[in-house]
Point group: C2
């Protein structure tokens, strides 16, 4: 039977032209590779090389053998990768969400329900989330609206309501409610990694500029020492910084008050989804 280690030497010889170079590249001795080539000819049962006294080269048959050898080596490598990927997949629950807040509730639940599994989550745009859930590329998805899709189950999860944090001295500070339209034109501080909220704000407040902060401490510092608007929600885990000398004013737009829905195909997650919705 063929031996992949030997085929690798054959491929190396084909790539480097001489047994010496190939041996050097593979960190083995020259006699070893000579022996291997002889052994390969036995295995294939046909001559693969044309030999003169101190020169050896592939004949036509040998070149064909090299083709197959490289293909087999590639396939073998691919097989290992695929099996590893399959294993990883089997022990990973991947959640694709449109926003971070619902993950804060869901991930701990998944961790306790599936203590053996690794939980992996990413923020994605809505269409991509739907596609991944449908194609089985992830186990769960979280959207800010329900979807009707063949084979995809969709369960309401929890609500998030957006509010704006207005400094006391701001002209809007005394309002009890606001709309995107009224905020449009005022510049805002924003955190990165907030999923669809970012896109929503830019869409609804095209005249505003958004100063996106990656670091939450820097963000908090800026909030404290600036008079720029910023946002929070009922689910936010902010420290007191946001409330420091600011009024929290709810937005009344429908799109600022979303209900998250859990998407999944495998009914294993039905129970979790129901448990989640009951909690809220």
């Amino acid at each position: 039977m063929l031996n992949l280690l030997e085929l690798e030497q054959l491929a190396a010889f084909a790539d480097w032209g001489t047994l010496s170079k190939a041996a050097e590249q593979l960190h083995i001795s020259q006699p070893t590779i000579t022996r291997t080539m002889q052994h390969l000819e036995e295995e294939f049962g046909v001559p693969l090389f044309s030999r003169s006294k101190n020169k050896i080269q592939l004949n036509e048959t040998g070149k064909k053998a090299v083709e197959y050898a490289k293909s087999l080596l590639e396939d073998a490598k691919e097989a290992v990768a695929q099996v590893q990927a399959f294993h990883k997949r089997l022990h990973t629950i991947t959640v694709q969400s449109c926003a971070p807040a619902p993950l804060w509730s869901l991930l701990p639940i998944l961790s306790s329900e599936f203590p053996q599994q690794t939980i992996s989550s990413t923020l994605l745009e809505e269409p991509e989330i739907v596609r991944q859930v449908r194609d089985g590329d992830c186990e769960m998805g979280i959207l800010p609206r329900p979807v009707e899709q063949e084979g995809v189950k969709c369960v309401p999860f929890l609500e998030e309501k957006l509010s704006v944090c207005v400094p006391y001295e701001h002209s809007l500070a005394e309002r009890t409610s606001l709309t995107f339209q009224e905020l449009n034109g005022f510049n805002c501080l924003l955190l990165s990694q907030i999923g669809f909220w970012d896109k929503l704000c830019r869409e609804k407040m095209p005249a505003s500029r958004f100063l996106v902060q990656t670091d939450s401490f820097e963000f908090a510092e800026l909030v404290r020492h600036s008079s720029l608007l910023c946002f929070t929600t009922n689910l936010a885990r902010d420290s007191q910084e946001l409330f420091h000398k600011r009024n929290i004013i709810p937005l009344t737009d429908a799109q600022a008050n979303v209900t998250y829905y859990l998407l999944f195909t495998n009914s294993v997650y039905q129970a979790v989804a129901e448990k989640c919705s009951n909690r809220h």
Copy 2:
């Protein structure tokens, strides 16, 4: 790197259900296969089995690994076969002919021109011959007519003229020439393995019956002791049997007097083809 021998043990385990059975089938000891399975798990880097005290079985990942293992084993076997076939092909000149007579001239020439090569010949029907030459499935073809085909060279080779052997007492015995039409209705003795001649006779003499003989000695015996018609050509290597108390009368039909053409794609055979046509 994966080892195909180990993968074979994995496949055997999958097929036979227990390590013991697999070991027995492969004529190896049980400890060996146990170790191999452990080693395979290291190679793949993930668990492939679920083990209880005296039971071991494939887990989901393991089943995937078996799929890939079997595929790789199949590919490896196929690779060896393909390389061997390639080698054989490289050292074999295959000639597909519509009739045996031109082979009697061509094969000796090929043998002396290519003493290293094995010469292989078969009788086929015309369309298949053209296909094989075109597709490179054979090196040369012999047809009873020229063909125009992209990339296929076509050189006139030699002529064969059909005659009928009529017993002295036969009503047609005194004719100096004949046609298929005149022969139609008379029953004939025929040898097998005469290529397109068989089909031609049946087509041109639909009212006749043909008694096909496989053995040439039996054929000669029948010719000698019957008054049935039979055929010969200018190229035939018949003994005197056919002429025993028979007149040899040529057929005048165009299709009974053919010119054979050599077909080939590889110009290596151009020289041979020219040498052939010069000889005749």
